[in-house]
Symmetry: C3
């Protein structure tokens, strides 16, 4: 519980209204009730502002001009609300205990401030640093290093030799450091497995979504750099590099040996071929199909979006003869010029 004035100080905002208004939690504009603070980040929700039962609202200076009520004023309301949520809702860390059902190899080193949940398995020579939380059912393969403040949610699998940076968060059922998909074709048209002897290195402040997989390198390292945020159900192939502070939405697949720059924003359900290079500051809209390197920062897209099935069928059928159509047009131009 904080007052409006306290929240203003804590979030580096100004305020207007009753400074002693008591705020216990954060809620959506439409669902908020007394004691709750909400926010307007997007003009399309302005209509809900007048009718909201929130005791206070976080708004921009612009909106503040026309709204009477208890407000926190901040040029970045989304950032301010992120801070307010943290102030009002952050939970205490779990106690630093090692659950009795955990299996920890005697050569592993677990810091006394770490919390190790039920059924966690920690293999040979693993290093678990201060404040790390490893929830139930996680497996940490040998020689792996989990640096300070990491939080692994339940049922995460970390293969051997993986290094994870400070304060990184990994959600449930993610798989880190599994074998890359590497096979040599044999003369008999079969596939001979190439042992994947590289590893996976993840930086600080990274977030890895639930059921996401990041493969180890064939040789060398797959590298997820500081501040990268990966959503759920992402696949990162072997020997990929992702630059600092790049974000990637759910369901994206990145082929082996591809390199993605810094501060990129990759829309969900995108597919990037292997062995390509994406420059810094590239934005890909959702469902992008990327088969070649992208050398310049900018916004890129691909694909055919939804249409009525009947219309789509006709257009899609024409696409299959698009080259013919273009030739016809060229012919027509020629003919017309000759006349």
């Amino acid at each position: 519980m904080r007052t409006l004035e306290q929240l203003a100080v804590l979030t580096d905002s100004s305020f207007s209204g009753n400074k002693d208004t008591k705020i216990h939690s954060v809620a959506d504009l439409k669902e908020a009730s007394e004691g709750q603070i909400s926010f307007v980040n997007n003009n399309k929700y302005l209509k809900h502002l007048e009718t909201s039962n929130a005791s206070a609202v976080i708004v921009t200076h612009e909106i503040a001009k026309s709204f009477k009520g208890n407000i926190l004023i901040n040029e970045n309301p989304y950032m301010a609300v992120a801070h307010v949520i943290e102030i009002l809702h952050a939970e205490p860390k779990p106690k630093a205990v090692i659950h009795k059902s955990a299996s920890i190899d005697e050569s592993a080193v677990v810091h006394e401030s770490a919390s190790i949940g039920p059924n966690v398995v920690i293999d040979e020579k693993v290093e678990i640093q201060a404040g790390v939380i490893v929830e139930a059912g996680c497996f940490i393969g040998k020689n792996s290093i989990l640096k300070k403040g990491i939080h692994l949610y339940p049922n995460v699998t970390v293969y051997k030799d993986t290094i994870i940076g400070e304060n990184t968060i990994v959600h449930a059922a993610a798989t880190l450091g599994a074998d890359g998909f590497g096979f040599a074709p044999t003369p008999e048209k079969q596939w001979f497995k190439i042992l994947q002897i590289g590893n996976l290195i993840i930086g600080d402040d990274v977030e890895v979504g639930a059921n996401t997989t990041i493969d180890r390198a064939t040789l060398g390292s797959t590298k997820i750099n500081n501040g990268v945020k990966l959503d759920n159900h992402i696949h990162i192939g072997h020997n990929v590099t992702i630059g600092e502070h790049t974000v990637m939405a759910a369901g994206t697949v990145v082929g082996g040996s591809t390199s993605i720059g810094k501060r990129c924003q990759i829309g969900g359900a995108s597919a990037l071929s292997g062995h390509i290079v994406i420059a810094d500051d590239v934005i890909l809209t959702g469902r992008s199909m990327v088969t070649n390197s992208v050398k310049l920062a900018g916004v890129y897209s691909s694909g055919i979006a939804l249409d009525e099935n009947k219309k789509w069928r006709k257009n899609a059928a024409r696409f299959r003869k698009l080259d013919d159509l273009a030739k016809k047009v060229k012919n027509l131009e020629k003919k017309l010029n000759e006349k």
Copy 2:
């Protein structure tokens, strides 16, 4: 083991042939042998009817007119076979025991008729109602409620505060209620995590496929309503709502805050952007790319389907100049009209 007559009564079908024919199990028309019943749901399998070794077949009235043999006659053979499979093949529920290796917090309430498998972890204040089955390795986060008759297959992770409705089935390695993908951009072009303090509410009779992920809400609730069926490898973002009896095939990705109507059928590998609204009774064919709201019931599609690589390359290259092509055609029309 049942007789043909008994199966007719139990499935509300009529029959023809020897009423005492003994049926012990169900099989495909091509693979069935004595004592087995099969079905014809699709005219393209009619050819296998005459040569099948099945002791009986479930057919429509239409097919029944021309086929001599032991038959169950039902206008919906697919539904009838579903019932027959249940009658002949349903397995007894596992015993209501709590495996000795399960870790159950003392503040959790587990109904005496529930079955809790090996290495299951049940956190503080969880409520497990009557007849619930939680298989090996599942994790149930604090304050979560698992209502009557739920079946969680092995290695499912349920985050805190999740509510799951009666008789819902969740397959292996699914993750329910993980953090939404929410970050506020900082002035330094980095991303500040927004704590995800909402939850996930799943209705009754829902099925969630293996390795599917459904995120909790940022604020408020992500809602999967009664009777929704989700296949494997689906991603449902934070604050999504899915209406009753909607089905969604494998590999589909739904962005945050999107709302999908009732009785929709979403084809596999589709991608729906965040913040859009899909009306009731919308059918999306497989691999749909949905970037805008769909306001009317109907069938919708998108994408470019497979072609020989050589042809596709030519057509795809033309697509990159489609706007030019359309302008050329407009010019040609103008010129021709001027002549």
Copy 3:
């Protein structure tokens, strides 16, 4: 540690340079240092050959003509390096022990040479053959058979009745044999679950990627034949058959009852509809959308690849009127011919 000469003999290669050169490990051309061997598989990496610090390099006869140094010469350098990695880096198998925290039903049969990790659960009547490795947290459902030499990485879930062939590798958090997505529509527009009473049969020398899901059959068997390699995040629906030595890259979704031939190469993020047949030796490039059967071997593609967002928007808008455009062109041709 081996000498250059020894590696030549073991990999059936010739060599040139100092036969006693000592090699302890394999590394990328750019990262290699003394005591390491590298390889050139691709002409585009030739430029790194002269400057590499590798003590030896695996090359083709062609490259060998112009390069002076310690070389292993092999027409298939990729295969040779795969062998060298195995020779220098293969790890000893884990000891044949059953971890004390494993829960093994008394009716299960586990070969004395198998290795069963912590918290593994083995259900009734399971058969685990010689040399099998089951890592931590795996669940093996009743009646399943794991043949000789199989390796299951941590947190894999195997449903009942699954049969897995010799030397098959399954990566973490994969789900094998979960229910197919089968529901009969009811008159009330709801969905009635069809019990999935078939099973899953996986052949020898198969590899299944992390978080991949393969469903059991509704009736009969889903079949993954010998030598198939599946990458991460793949979904294989019920009753699918995949022919021998087919490889499939990450994020691909295969609908139910589809049959894929032998020696196919399926690019990543592809989507194959249900109930279709793909011939032997078909190559699909990445992100293929396959809605119909493919009857002939060959290379196939689909989709629209990335473009600048502004250009793409214009072209994509034109696509929605492509049928009209084609009609206009037809009209123009007609008019011009009439003149």
